[in-house]
């Protein structure tokens, strides 16, 4: 059982990631999970979306370079050792993982240069989580 992943090439310019999200939002395409590479001169964003082929067309028409590939999605037991249980199988067989990210629970974590400023900008619009709240998830 494979899952279709949509990958997008992005130059590191502010607002580009937001444009991807906007385009998909306007088309009513729900993002189920995503990850980005650390920003250098350019980066890539990986998306698991409801309608990958249509999402690809939308982004392509919006001027983005995209790529479709197959990935594996796993339900990880929410308990200590849960992730290890999945990875051990592959490690024992000598299968190495190119990259890995978590999807479908909507608590995201991201880094910016000026954390305090970003907190100021967001605090009245979204729910920010504290250390304690994250631990309690």
């Amino acid at each position: 059982m494979k899952v279709t992943q949509l990958t997008v090439f992005l130059e590191n310019r502010s607002g580009r990631l937001a444009e991807v999200a906007d385009l998909l939002g306007q088309e009513g395409i729900n993002i189920r999970g995503f990850s980005t590479t650390e920003a250098a001169e350019y980066g890539i964003v990986r998306l698991i979306v409801a309608e990958p082929e249509r999402a690809r067309q939308v982004l392509h028409d919006g001027g983005f370079t995209t790529h479709i590939s197959s990935v594996i999605c796993v339900k990880v037991p929410d308990q200590p050792g849960g992730l290890a249980q999945v990875l051990d199988q592959l490690a024992e067989a000598g299968v190495s993982i190119d990259y890995l990210y978590s999807i479908s629970f909507w608590n995201i974590c991201f880094a910016v240069k000026d954390v305090d400023r970003a907190v100021e900008l967001l605090k009245d619009r979204v729910t920010l989580l504290s250390d304690e709240e994250v631990r309690a998830l």
């Binding site: 992943q5 990958t7 090439f9 992005l10 130059e11 580009r16 590479t37 001169e41 350019y42 980066g43 890539i44 990986r46 001027g63 983005f64 370079t65 995209t66 790529h67 590939s69 190119d98 990259y99």
Partner: protein, 449 residues
């Protein structure tokens, strides 16, 4: 003509020295006669020994011996870099291989370089011309020249080297790069003269200052800087940073390398070695000769080269000529600093680069979109080239590693052809500006040095 070759260091009127005073101060009428005599010999050499020139001269209806005055020169055919490339590697040599003692090469308009051959006599003449260049800056036996031009196929390193030995000063063949060692050798050996590109001279000056060295801590007195265009403003900066007289020298590999023209300590234009090179300035559109003082394309005819005579070679450098007498006492005409090019050639750290060469490499990579841009900029005093490439879906795979491998691969291919390091920048589709009509392939952000 033995008196013209006589080597006798004597003081000029500008604080420098003549190497061959009889030749360097020859009355202009006599110089003109000498040029015509040598021009006929050059045409004869080219006609008899190079099929390309026999055909060109026959087509132009010119007999090698029929050229009697400077006005006749305008009837002679031109030679271009493309002609040299078409006869790669040795098709433009006028001497059999057993008389060729050295071959240099420079980058050409495609993957093929253009080659330059020398007989032993050509090497000796070259040595004289470089000795004149160095002597004009006051260099004599006992001086120590730190030669930081690159050694190898490039004519700068070995050209300066043999000329310095010919003059009799001490030459240190340190070649380019390794700034730390340059500064150490300069002080430990007591170098009194420096030869390198102007951008590297400035880089050395900055590096010295960063290490707390004052100009008076450095023993060098005079610098010879060419292979790339530079301004009088940069001259003042180099002179202040290193505490030297910074002199411009001009040459191109097709003419044999440096030694075509040089500044005396008056620093008011470069004296052309007119007994060995006949200079003209033409309108690059109409190809007609321009009156003295007007800016146009510089054209040279070799007058003494045996292995590779070139007739009316189009340098593509734009400059003007003056025959006003110079205060130093030399009677030769002077050329202004080149102010630009009549083609799109870029000079990057002394290396000639045509955008078409980069384009050829890019077009040989099927995944690359036909949209790209070459951005030339300067970091500190060093030129850098960025090649912007749009990432289309043929390039894009889904890991950063794939993209980085692609980037490095393109850089390596460009390096293999051009011998320069470029930075390939990956851009989103349409990120490179589309223009109506001719695409803007090259953006040169450098301010004039």
């Amino acid at each position: 003509m033995s008196d013209l070759r006589e080597e006798h260091l004597t003081e000029d009127a500008a604080g420098g020295l003549y190497w061959q005073p009889a030749a360097e101060t020859m009355p202009t009428a006599q110089l003109g006669e000498l040029q015509m005599e040598r021009l006929r010999a050059t045409l004869r050499n080219a006609y008899d020994n190079i099929p390309f020139y026999r055909r060109k001269l026959d087509e132009a209806g010119v007999s090698p011996d029929g050229v009697s005055c400077h006005g006749d020169v305008a009837d002679l055919p031109f030679t271009t870099k493309i002609d040299l490339r078409d006869h790669y590697p040795f098709g433009m040599f006028a001497r059999p291989r057993d008389q060729i003692v050295r071959v240099h090469a420079s980058s050409g308009t495609t993957g093929n370089p253009t080659t330059v051959g020398y007989t032993r006599a050509d090497i000796d003449t070259w040595g004289d011309l470089i000795a004149r260049t160095l002597a004009a800056g006051g260099v004599r036996p006992g001086d120590l020249l730190q030669n930081a031009y690159g050694y190898g196929l490039f004519t700068g390193g070995l050209g300066l080297h043999f000329g310095a030995e010919h003059l009799g000063c001490t030459v240190v063949p340190i070649s380019g790069g390794n700034t730390e060692r340059q500064l150490k050798i300069m002080r430990d050996f007591g170098a009194t003269a420096l030869a390198c590109t102007p951008s590297y001279a400035m880089y050395l000056g900055d590096a010295a200052r960063d290490r707390g060295l004052r100009p008076e801590d450095l023993p060098i007195r005079v610098g010879f800087h060419g292979a790339e265009p530079w301004t009088n403003e940069l001259r003042l900066q180099i002179e202040a940073a290193l505490g030297i007289e910074a002199l411009d020298i001009y040459g191109l590999s097709e003419m044999g390398g440096p030694g075509v023209a040089f500044e005396c300590l008056c620093k008011s234009g470069m004296h052309i070695n007119e007994d060995h090179y006949m200079a003209e300035v033409i309108d690059p559109e109409t190809l007609r000769p321009l009156p003295e003082g007007e800016v146009g394309e510089l054209v040279f005819t070799t007058l003494s080269r045996q292995a590779q005579p070139l007739i009316r070679y189009r340098t593509r450098d734009l400059c003007s000529l003056t025959s006003e007498p110079c205060a130093c006492g030399r009677t030769s005409a002077r050329m202004s600093k080149p102010i630009g090019r009549s083609d799109d050639m870029l000079i990057i750290r002394g290396v000639n680069v045509f955008p078409s060469q980069i384009e050829e490499v890019l077009m040989s990579i099927p995944e690359i979109e036909p949209h790209y841009q070459i951005v030339v900029d300067r970091k500190g005093y060093l030129d850098i080239i960025e090649v912007w490439v749009e990432v289309g879906e043929d390039i894009f795979a889904e890991t950063m590693g794939d993209l980085e491998r692609f980037q490095r691969g393109v850089q390596a291919q460009i390096y293999n052809v051009l011998n320069i390091q470029v930075a390939v920048k990956l851009k989103e589709p349409k990120a490179i500006q589309r223009s109506e009509g001719k695409a803007v392939r090259v953006v040169d952000k450098r301010k004039a040095l």
